[in-house]
Symmetry: C2
Subunit: 345 residues, 2 copies
Amino acid sequence: MTGTVSRPTLEAVAARAGVSRATVSRVVNGGDGVREPLVERVRRAVEELGYVPNQAARSLVTRRHDAVAVVIAEPETRVFADPFFALQLRGISKELTAHDSQLVLLLTEGRDDHARVARYLAGGHVDGALVFSLHLDDPLPGLIHGAGVPTVFGGRPGWGEGVREAVYVDCDNRGGARQAVRHLLGLGRTRIAHITGALDQTSAVDRLDGYRDVMADADPALVAQGDFTPAGGERAMRELLERRPDVDAVFVANDLSALGVLRVLREHGRRVPEDVAVIGFDDMLPIAEQTDPPLTTVRQDIEDMGRLMARLLIRGLEGGAGAEGPVPESSGVVLPTTVVRRASA
Amino acid sequence: MTGTVSRPTLEAVAARAGVSRATVSRVVNGGDGVREPLVERVRRAVEELGYVPNQAARSLVTRRHDAVAVVIAEPETRVFADPFFALQLRGISKELTAHDSQLVLLLTEGRDDHARVARYLAGGHVDGALVFSLHLDDPLPGLIHGAGVPTVFGGRPGWGEGVREAVYVDCDNRGGARQAVRHLLGLGRTRIAHITGALDQTSAVDRLDGYRDVMADADPALVAQGDFTPAGGERAMRELLERRPDVDAVFVANDLSALGVLRVLREHGRRVPEDVAVIGFDDMLPIAEQTDPPLTTVRQDIEDMGRLMARLLIRGLEGGAGAEGPVPESSGVVLPTTVVRRASA
């Protein structure tokens, strides 16, 4: 609204029509809830003054809102507790702002609210959606598909209706896991355990598959189930120490879980890396640098992933305008990973 | 969309009309960008099957989106770095979800994006807005006022066009500051300093006023300017130690800044509370309990503040439906504060 000082304002229209600004705003935005004689008076004032509401005028021409929804399929408490999401949002926010598109983050208390999220997406309030952290059995991908909203997913959406046609950005979870385990083998470790992420997410399944690619003959007792949180990492590490007290290395599915793992090892007097080497996944900064000892980990560029998701969506929106939806075909972009060596392995 | 299994689906309409789901969705949401013969075919199928799109049907009747925007007038990096905002959002999210209203968080890179935020608000995508962390000279309150969107502010919006009519929720910043300083006086401290918050925010100004209410005759050198961040607290504490090395107590404008203050005092070998007593503001948990020593502070219920903002907005939206806007009059709700005694003072 900067630079529109010389154009007629909403206030001028309100004064001319002898109604409140709120009434003018309502009429301009559809007219519902305002009595017909008032609507007429406002319309006349708008015409006489040549008032053009920026957004409304553009929408009429392009059917564009210059807004993109972001949906993180986690309760809002988790969104603010796990720095992964803040990093992804940072990349998205920068990219959308560079295109003067508004980031609309739809927060929920949990999966029960996903039907409401889908209704908002279907309601024509955004040009497209970026959706990440999907879990197995979440109805969201199907609902979004049904709503016909151009969507780019963060992480491979491995399940759910309509996802075969999905465009997504992911990192090489399986390859990264193989790198992690080979790094531990290279240090001469033989009893290498894996603490998984939440196995209703493809990222966790892919990392487990990568571990198994290299450790095909390993004792199944060396795999313990976590959930991508520090508390989950603690529980899984305690289990591992009971089942296989001779464990000499752990590949943990993410850095946040590794915090819990390091805590339990310290409690049990196991030295890291001398007794047990630990490697994480993410290279979540500053956390991974500040652990004791600093964490060796598999790096993925989370902020860049967010930026790329936003770029793909915007490119799709700008490219196509046919009735079949502007993001044209199924495709995945898979970003590479690298091992970052610090003291823990 | 749960519980609608027996009703005709979007898919059924698409099949009947011989078009894609995306096309049906477009027609249902306004029809722009779809060729007229297709629009006709879809409309016929909708009628024949008796298809009712939930949201669209409701919107036609009530002109309601069951969505509320939240605008935090800070860059998104700050939103995710300061736990204050996560707590306020938690209260808002719970309350909106209880009313089946979608929380729409509008994130920005900074003030330059506020005109875009105002356009989104004016575009008819939400029923109302909750706005907090306003700074002096921010055009947002004026822009929102011009857009005619029912709004409740978090924190007293002390400046800007249109804010005289504002509805807001705040805590008793000035009274809380007086409680803090009186607590320090009660401990026998006499050279009581104040580290302020960002003085372009009313909360910081009010807390400084509260300090001055009690310390009217104090040396002005005992007041150092911070900005509500740990780094700002550090800088201000260093200044204070240079100017008044005999300082024996500090009232810090928020707990997050107190983290920096405690760090600097430790560096300088000053014992807390023996040499310098420290009191914060917020009772930000778990931070305030985990500092060394645990922090005495002025408690405000941040989550409850968020909940109350949402409740006031929804009550306003449900109550009034006149053309003058549903939140009827200017009013502020000011919540009480209490001193929580821990080891630091």
